[in-house]
């Protein structure tokens, strides 16, 4: 990674060559994960804290497994069982953890920009594991890795991102990454869930018609409806959302070509994605999860690599 890259806060800050280096390193780590001994000693001198201020299953387990495969020492922190409940500030918590000689912080937080704030105040390397509605860079990287694995290259690949664009950090990170790597991006969802200024700034195409998006794309990355981030009703009901935007087998059967289905998880079955599509032959959802470990190994390996003086 370029020496300027000290943290992974978002895809926005990365150059094309940084992304390529992460993805090519991840490919080598994926091979490591097929070996009888799936562990390398690269990070045995590195201690990492997983700081999760928001719930997570996949991302957290994936990071922890990646750290263990790299031989790093790992400590885990959940806000719900910690002194954050007693009112300790984020900065105080992290400073206390760092005084125990921790080198890297993997952080998820419900506030957008929390890892950026931390990066300005502490000397450790920071990996953003999702901040509010801003970015989820490792998810975009593993999505890209999975697409490259399937299609060979991102250049010219048509990717439809369907669903709750407004509240999705996965969508934002994916849009940044895909645009930087030369893919074509179209977002699709109810008008209330697609912020107009955002898609204009990122120069991605927009459609409010799911059939049109599916007909156009090679890959549909289907997003979860994030009810926990919606302070007001943005569509009338989950049932109506499913009827208008849900990816169903009937919708896929109408297409002239078969398309690849992705989802960052957790899936709301029967809302944005029907079960027979999620579990169907064109779904690479579990490949995404598998690739997540290799991609996160690459990110932490590369961030630990340069002289961090």
């Amino acid at each position: 990674m370029k020496s300027a890259v000290q943290h992974l806060l978002g895809i926005k800050d990365l150059h094309q060559e940084d992304i390529s280096l992460i993805l090519s390193t991840a490919k080598q780590f994926k091979e490591v994960l097929q070996r009888p001994v799936k562990k390398v000693p690269s990070l045995r001198d590195v201690t990492i804290v997983n700081l999760f201020y928001e719930n997570s299953t996949r991302t957290r387990m994936s990071f922890e497994l990646a750290q263990k495969r790299l031989s790093a020492d790992v400590i885990n922190f959940s806000a719900s069982t910690s002194s954050a409940k007693k009112g300790e500030t984020l900065l105080d918590t992290v400073r206390n953890i760092l005084s125990m000689k921790v080198d890297m912080v993997v952080m998820r937080h419900s506030a957008s920009g929390a890892p950026h704030f931390l990066a300005q105040h502490i000397p450790a390397a920071i990996v953003n594991a999702g901040d509010g509605i801003n970015e989820h860079p490792t998810q975009a990287l593993l999505d890209a890795f999975s697409m490259i694995e399937k299609f060979g290259d991102l250049k010219g690949l048509k990717v439809a991102i369907i669903g709750d664009i407004m509240h999705s950090r996965v969508a934002l990170s994916n849009m940044y990454l895909l645009k930087k790597m030369g893919a074509k991006v179209k977002v699709c969802g109810p008008p209330t869930l697609i912020p107009k200024h955002l898609v204009e700034a990122l120069q991605v195409e927009v459609t409010y018609n799911v059939e049109e998006a599916l007909q156009w794309c090679d890959v549909a990355n289907v997003l979860r409806i994030q009810l926990e981030r919606q302070n007001q009703p943005l569509f009338s009901s989950l049932r109506e959302y499913n009827l208008a935007y849900g990816i169903t087998r009937a919708r896929l059967e109408k297409l002239q070509q078969s398309i690849t289905i992705m989802h960052p998880g957790p899936i709301n079955r029967g809302v944005e994605l029907d079960s027979d599509v999620a579990d169907g032959p064109h779904s690479i959802i579990l490949d995404q999860v598998e690739n997540g470990v290799a991609v996160r190994m690459a990110v932490m390996f590369l961030l630990s690599n340069p002289n961090r003086s």
Partner: protein, 173 residues
């Protein structure tokens, strides 16, 4: 720039090493050859080819090993990982590890660690094209040597191969 090995001489050296490995492993059912990425593989590709040309009926398991994740200087600078391709078990096998230039021995030390991720070999032998004598930082010695040379710490030794050929040249840079 000073020449160490060149042209036909290099091809003969590769063939001699192939003969030597075959001679040693005559009674074993197969040969396990593993080249170290990236530059050792350019040599091991040719060694593999030479072994097959001499003894086409001998089974040779040929793999490529990247040692980036096992290096002891991983924090000093950025090392870009190359592909590892060892799609067989080395459990109880005699392994011949192949690199082009043996210098401090640190790469080979790392390669031992990397190798053990694929099983516990019965034994490991080391084949190098060039042995830079008296410069080892670890107690590692080669079993098959193309040519031993004396060199200064400040000198660099590099092997250049001609495409699809056992020929090439080895030079001080």
């Amino acid at each position: 720039m000073r020449n160490i090995l060149s042209g036909k001489q290099l091809a003969l050296t590769v063939q001699r090493l192939a003969q030597h490995i075959l001679e040693d492993q005559l009674t074993s059912s197969e040969i396990v050859l593993i080249g170290i990425q990236p530059r050792g593989v350019l040599f091991s590709d040719r060694l593999y080819q030479a072994i097959q040309a001499i003894e086409p009926s001998k089974q040779v398991n040929y793999g490529k090993l990247d040692i980036t994740f096992y290096r002891d200087d991983i924090r000093k600078e950025l090392h870009v990982a190359n592909a590892t391709d060892v799609n067989f078990s080395i459990e109880n096998k005699q392994v011949v590890l192949v690199d082009d230039v043996l210098y401090t021995g640190r790469t080979i030390r790392s390669a031992f660690d990397a190798l053990l991720a694929f099983g516990r070999p019965a034994g490991v032998k080391l084949c190098v094209l060039i042995d830079r004598r008296f410069s080892r930082e670890f107690p590692i010695q080669p079993d098959y040597v193309g040519k031993s040379i004396d060199s200064l710490f400040s000198q660099k030794v590099k092997v250049f191969w001609e495409e699809n050929s056992l020929e090439g040249r080895v030079e001080f840079l």
